[in-house]
């Protein structure tokens, strides 16, 4: 069983408060995040493939009183898989890494990824020492994940099994300097 990506993103962010900061991966999860509603506390990525989880780590360590959700795709996570070891060592209690896994590189023509071929990211995350590791395959466990994002208490990793559906792109702001400035202003760290 798998979930539809836009609906899954909407469920995860429903009732979002100002304490939640969100970093998507580049590509489909970035469009999913934009489709869920623009927010100054989103830092959209249009590049830097493999870097989403580590941006989340730097942010989570810098902002221990806020919660950080990295919501990326399986291809992006695979490129930066070492970050799971780095995060497993740091164990920031306010960081969640959520991977929307369709086993495909959706943005480039739906080529199969290693996750689609059997690589199990939940086992990798658990093996790296990340405290809570979830395999989300149905609405009930998605609702559980959404509830956990409202009050993190230890580093969380979740793989969300999503379908192959490719909804239309929703493109957010793409000026990196503007994205950075508005994000920092929103959490009160400017200048």
């Amino acid at each position: 069983m798998s979930l539809e990506r836009r609906a899954a993103m909407a469920t995860l962010l429903a009732g979002r408060d100002d304490g939640l900061l969100v970093v998507p991966g580049l590509g489909s999860t970035c469009w999913d995040l934009a489709a869920a509603g623009d927010n100054d506390r989103n830092f959209y990525l249009w590049g830097a493939m493999g870097g989403a989880a580590m941006i989340g780590l730097g942010l989570a360590l810098a902002q221990p009183r806020r919660r950080v959700a990295v919501i990326t795709g399986d291809g992006e996570m695979l490129m930066g898989m070492g970050a799971l070891a780095t995060i497993g060592l740091q164990k920031p209690p306010n960081l969640a890494v959520v991977v929307f896994d369709n086993g495909l590189y959706g943005e480039t023509g739906m080529q199969q990824s290693a996750a689609g071929g059997g690589a199990d990211l939940v086992s990798v995350a658990a093996g790296c020492g990340i405290g809570t590791c979830l395999d989300v395959r149905d609405e009930a466990s998605l609702a559980d994940l959404a509830a956990r994002l409202k009050g993190l208490s230890e580093t969380l990793f979740a793989r969300v099994a999503i379908s192959r559906a490719e909804p239309p792109r929703v493109l957010p702001l793409r000026d990196g300097v503007a994205l950075k400035q508005r994000f920092r202003a929103a959490i009160g760290v400017n200048p």
């Binding site: 970093v23 493999g50 941006i55 730097g58 070492g82 780095t86």
Partner: protein, 173 residues
Amino acid sequence: MIAPADWPDRLFETLKAGGVRQAGYLPDAGHARLIERCRADKDIRDVVLTTEEEGVALTAGAWLGGARAVLLMQSSGLGNCINMLSLPRACRFPMLMLITMRGEWEEFNPWQVPMGSIVDPVLKLCEAEVYRVRDADAVQGTAERAVQRAFGDERIVAMVLSQELIGAKVWTK
């Protein structure tokens, strides 16, 4: 005259005084003392990385959250960072890199030369300002300028520590 072995301590003190609160690193013998000082300091979070590009992303995330971070690496690690340096270039994140050189002065291992020999042009292509240090007496002043430039003006600044400064790796022990 500062004794040569003291420069990593001067470097650490400059980073600390400059408000650096996260240090991402891949180990290098030339950075051993600085890493040790960062690990021992309760105000600085030391983050050992699996690849240097992780540190580029870490540093960007830190700045998004209002914190200053530094990235320590050996020259060979710069090659691992090139695409990720798109992040500070596209978003103008401050990126302070301290790079210890291999593959130049008195290098024993020829496999270090291919990357070591292209560090300066690669940095320039990535729009980094390059501050090279060969002399222990210049470390602190250069580090102060690098900190100010990186965080004060949101620039990529690479402080490149020459092999003459660090000393050649000892291969027989």
